[in-house]
């Protein structure tokens, strides 16, 4: 007799089941009743957490992929080789989940493939879509050696190993493009995005903060994987990463400051508004506190300290993306957006699915290096990883800085005005005001005490040369299709008080309302 083994019911598994059940129900509502039923989105606020969090944060946090692969395969920093596999897995998984999450937000997700054949190269969204498509493909190819190794396909594996360098270069390029383009999306709304976040250099800020988020994600994920799966934590490598993070965070702070100063937005930082508070919290948690933490050697050389610093960076990163997409946009929208439980349930379901798939992948694929590998044992400092390597990084770092400054100057200069060419088109009939089209005579409904029916004609009241329609409409006489001529739309009380018709029919400008028979025709 075979024993049936039921999966153990743990706390986290129970939580997962609850989240997924809620998510499933929310999915059902979303697709059977529409976006309005499942979300708090509206014409005034069309993008909520499904864009602000699922996409902007999701794509940013998967950025570790291109940063680490660049270090390993281009700059030949072999120290990081051990974490390149889990990083690529996180990135690939992240992008797949982002695309999956997008299907919920799009109004017509079955048309998501349209940008492949319908092109608008002037659209930032077009560029984001294409880069994400291409980058996910690259990630899949970078990830494929893991699958090929697992299933023992030796020849394809050898081929893929040769392609790794061009793939990594393409990966870095595509990543740079779309990480920054997610910021460029908001460049077109200078009036709608709050000045504490709006700048023409949003693409640069998004790119740099994506590097920060990606690096912090690597530290975070290595730590949690080690604790969850008992894999060796590549501590020395992560300590090096934290030093790089400090430098990049400083750069980020500096450029943020410069853009705020250039846009005359420094005045908003301490103005006590809701937005200023969100801004201060974001900068403190995301930049200032982690920089301080990482500069203290005791914290930097301590596993928990590294993890803590990384968590701050990640929270700050999430806050930044949410501030740009939600706080900063809600400011001008006139509405107070807050997601429905269904929006949260779907987001939570997707994020938790990510964790589950990651865990499943680490169990069945060769993600983590063997304990015997050199990378995990001796902690070689960054400098010795080929002195050439570090020097080249410094040179490239300065180049990046120069390019950044150059771009900053480019964007801040006024654009030349272009002459819009006259377009030849079909002649359209020219219509200028000719005759007034006055309504037909209006017969008023008779009240009980009425001496006779009243019929109003516009012709007797309107001078065709100087119509002055607004003299009577809508102040004196509000035009409501259901009320015209209705009983009570004009009342004798008002007339006697020199209102409505009584304003002119006062005996001076025209005959008085006391002359009943002038208007009321007796039957």
């Amino acid at each position: 007799m075979k024993e049936i083994k039921l999966p153990k019911v743990t706390f986290w598994r129970a939580v997962l089941v609850i989240i997924w059940t809620l998510g499933l129900y929310a999915t059902f509502i979303r697709f059977t009743k529409g976006l309005g039923a499942a979300t708090n989105l509206s014409d005034q606020f069309p993008w909520g957490i499904w864009i602000g969090f699922d996409i902007l944060v999701g794509v940013g946090l998967a950025a570790g992929g291109f940063v680490i692969t660049a270090f390993v395969y281009i700059f030949n920093v072999k120290d990081f080789k051990a974490i390149s596999r889990p990083t690529v897995l996180t990135a690939f998984l992240g992008y797949v989940l982002v695309i999956f999450a997008l299907m919920f937000d799009l109004g017509l997700p079955y048309n998501v493939w349209h940008p492949i054949i319908m092109w608008n190269p002037h659209s930032v969204m077009f560029e984001v879509g294409w880069c994400v498509m291409l980058y996910t493909t690259v990630l899949f190819l970078e990830f494929s050696p893991l699958l090929l190794e697992r299933f023992g396909f030796k020849k394809p594996l050898a081929i893929m190993r040769k392609l790794i360098l061009p793939l990594v270069i393409l990966g870095v390029l595509f990543s740079t493009l779309h990480q920054s383009s997610l910021g460029t999306l908001y460049v077109i709304v200078p009036d709608k995005l709050h000045p504490l976040w709006y700048t023409g250099l949003l693409p640069l800020l998004f790119f740099i903060s994506a590097i920060c988020g990606g690096l912090a994600m690597v530290i975070f994920e290595s730590y949690t994987s080690a604790r969850a799966f008992g894999k060796e934590l590549e501590f020395p490598i992560l300590a090096q990463l934290s030093r790089i993070l400090v430098v990049v965070l400083f750069l980020l702070l500096f450029i943020r400051y410069r853009t705020l100063a250039a846009n005359n937005a420094l005045q908003y930082i301490f103005d006590g508004s809701k937005e200023s508070i969100y801004f201060l919290v974001e900068i403190s948690i995301g930049i200032i506190i982690p920089v301080i933490l990482f500069l203290i050697p005791k914290i930097r050389n301590n596993r928990a300290g590294l993890f803590l610093g990384a968590v701050f960076v990640l929270i700050g990163f999430i806050m930044n993306r949410l501030n740009v997409s939600i706080t900063g946009m809600a400011w001008s929208s006139g509405v107070n957006y807050f997601p429905t439980w269904m929006e949260v349930a779907i987001t939570a379901s997707i994020v938790s699915a990510g964790f589950v798939i990651f865990r499943y992948a680490t169990k069945h694929l060769p993600i983590f290096p063997d304990k015997e590998s050199e990378a995990a044992k001796v902690p070689p400092p960054l400098i010795s990883a080929g002195r050439s390597g570090s020097r080249v990084i410094m040179v490239l770092g300065s180049l990046l800085l120069i390019v950044s400054v150059g771009l900053a100057l480019e964007f801040s200069s006024k654009s030349k005005t272009e002459v819009i060419p006259e377009e030849q088109s079909e002649p359209v009939k020219n219509v200028m005001p000719a005759e007034l089209s006055l309504p037909a005579p209006i017969e008023f409904e008779m009240g009980e005490d009425s001496p006779g029916v009243v019929t109003f004609t516009h012709e007797t009241h309107v001078d065709p040369d100087e119509p002055n329609c607004t003299g009577c409409h809508t102040g004196m006489f509000n035009i409501k299709p259901d009320k015209v001529g209705a009983l009570g739309s004009v009342s004798m009380e008002k007339l006697y008080e020199n209102q409505q018709c009584g304003k002119c029919h006062n005996g001076d400008d025209s005959f008085s309302v006391e002359e009943c028979e002038f208007c009321h025709y007796a039957e």
Partner: protein
């Protein structure tokens, strides 16, 4: 020839004939309020401080919505009208975000939603050389249709002949790079909810400044990355060779 609409708010009596005509032509429900724009009211007449304001798509010369749409579903036609092709749309709603006047609305209550806005009756009227529904029913001539240059001239004439009646500004000549729907008003436009004090540069230029750099970034970046890999790779190879030679020398000496 650029088709345009002149909305003279000093002549609008709020009768809403224009909104009803629009609903008639586009099959929209009459009971849906036309006090504000919505997916069921593509033209609205709003009352503010006793003044009636016709709200509709501005049909910008260089529309932000058209540049934002990834699949080109929104397009400025040769007539001047900015039209929408629902068959291309995937519902990303970037056009709602991008429009500086917040004109496009979405069918949030539908399972297969579309973006909605005034399309200046392009299919049913403009293409045939006729005027849109709204301007054809206005009893007072508050909203009229014509060639953009002629309407601008007419607007200038009105201001010149009645300086007390109008604020000396024609809204839409320069705003957002110029629009095909222009307005005249008796009070400052800011009081009527029109966005003012903005750059006159068309909005699409803002993002194009960034997007046009992409070929540069890709080529420069690609060369930098490939170059640095090559440089580092060579250095490592040379270092390894040097180390190997040292080891061989040691071996020779020892032996």
């Amino acid at each position: 020839m650029n088709a345009a609409i002149l909305n003279d708010m000093t002549k609008c009596i709020g009768c809403k004939a224009c909104t009803l005509a629009c609903k008639e032509v586009n099959g929209l429900p009459k009971d849906a309020s036309s006090d504000v724009l919505s997916s069921k009211s593509w033209v609205a007449v709003e009352q503010k401080n006793g003044i009636n304001i016709k709200r509709q798509c501005m049909h910008c010369n260089e529309p932000a919505c058209a540049s934002a749409c990834p699949v080109g579903a929104l397009e400025k036609t040769e007539t001047g009208a900015v039209v929408y092709d629902a068959s291309k749309c995937m519902g990303c709603r970037y056009c709602l975000i991008a429009c500086p006047f917040s004109i496009p609305k979405y069918e949030w209550d539908k399972t297969l939603p579309k973006v909605t806005k005034c399309v200046m009756c392009y299919e049913n009227a403009l293409k045939k050389g006729e005027q849109p529904a709204c301007t054809s029913v206005c009893p007072t001539g508050a909203t009229i249709f014509g060639d953009r240059d002629e309407l601008i001239q007419e607007a200038k004439n009105r201001i010149a002949n009645n300086p007390d009646k109008y604020v000396d500004h024609i809204y839409g000549i320069k705003e957002a790079g110029g629009t095909s729907v222009i307005y005249l008003s008796s009070v400052p436009f800011a009081e009527l909810g029109f966005p003012v004090d903005r750059e006159e540069e068309p909005y699409p230029k803002l993002t194009w400044k960034v997007l046009s750099q992409i070929p540069n970034i890709v080529s420069t970046g690609g060369i930098l990355l490939l170059g640095s890999w090559w440089v580092i790779n060579r250095r490592m190879k040379l270092e390894n060779e040097r180390n190997q030679n040292n080891i061989d020398d040691d071996n020779i000496i020892e032996s």
